[in-house]
Symmetry: C2
Subunit: 222 residues, 2 copies
């Protein structure tokens, strides 16, 4: 029997908690699907019966193989729709999450594979998160870490964000920081732990530590 949208949302929530090394307790899920703990208990029972989830009270929930499979499919759909909305419909990157959240429940493999092809098999979504392929494999970005960990002199490219809230993304817009842009870390200021990034020439950006913590970078060897 096909999953309902609500079931799909739970699976995705559990998945996200798992990869974030969090444990998918009743409470954590409650926050993340925006339902009361009582409702979560209810849904977990159903998902267990359908063999999508393993659950032990106080120990948290884990996806089974087939549950994880479903969750990854959802992530794929979500991220591909986000690419579509940004690249083709020119939405801002901070405005696509809610729409993708709805679109991800539509259609099956056929639709999403066609969308994937139409978009030229993008590897990352507009926030730099990797898009699982048709087989559910995720080729995660290698060697990415928070900009706050870089040392002075490092040259890097911005490749993702830790926080994809609208607030943070719009802040990056204001700082003119975008995925794919290259910088060099010029200095770290002791006073407020902020940093100075240079894009070259006389272009300098002052980056607060809150920002740096939430920006993912890769070192560029050139």
């Amino acid at each position: 029997m096909p999953l309902t949208s609500s079931q799909e949302n739970y699976l995705k929530a559990i998945y996200k908690l798992e990869v974030g090394e969090g444990i998918a307790t009743n409470q954590a899920l409650s926050a993340s699907v925006e339902a009361t703990p009582a409702s979560v208990t209810n849904m977990l029972r159903k998902l267990m019966e359908e063999g999508l989830v393993k659950y032990e009270a106080y120990q948290g929930a884990m996806l089974t193989k087939s549950g994880r499979n479903e969750a990854v499919k959802l992530v794929r759909k979500h991220r591909l729709w986000e690419v579509f909305l940004v690249k083709k419909l020119h939405y801002d990157w901070d405005a696509v999450h809610a729409l993708a959240e709805d679109l991800e429940h539509i259609g099956g493999a056929e639709l999403i594979n066609r969308l994937d092809a139409f978009l030229d098999h993008p590897k990352y979504d507009p926030h730099g998160d990797p898009i699982p392929n048709e087989q559910g494999e995720i080729r995660a970005r290698q060697h990415a870490f928070a900009a706050s960990e870089a040392s002075v002199g490092t040259k890097f490219v911005v490749c993702g964000v830790r926080d994809s809230s609208s607030l943070f993304l719009r802040h990056l817009d204001k700082l003119n920081i975008r995925l794919g842009k290259n910088y060099e870390l010029i200095e770290c200021l002791e006073f407020d732990r902020s940093a100075v990034w240079s894009e070259g020439a006389d272009s300098y950006t002052n980056v607060s530590s809150e920002v740096a913590i939430n920006v993912l970078i890769q070192i560029t060897h050139e």
Copy 2:
């Protein structure tokens, strides 16, 4: 309060019955939304309370201004998504209805206007049906009629279908009849009321009367 998908489906069904000069009786609706008459009564009551529908037992239902407004928006969304699926994702024209049926409930004016722009403001969907504009105006095809009404010698262009079932559309595919193609009606055969259409040169297609009845054409004055 926002409409549910189910409410939207009822509005669209009533709208379609209205334009097809049918009357949206409890029964007709029952067939068209695939629910029992009892369920229809139920929903009509709600739609009436929300001021979307006027209903009188045995006389059928009619949309109010705001109900019609909603219905036309849905038609717009449906047809634009169909264009997207066929033109961009290369679905066959007989395979897009069900998906568009789901997609049409997603998002609001912003999304659909962006989609419209992305598709270059198409005037017709893949079956030749006109797409309402943002204001809800439908510039219906003028002077279109069933191919079965044409007289010998008429030159015409195929511009739509009366039946958009998968079965019929695939049949047209087999006959190589497509929207936008030009023909001349060469003769009508008395025996089985079938017709011969020519695309010029030595290209002739024999068209049964069932087919001709369901193909919409416009006379070409050249």
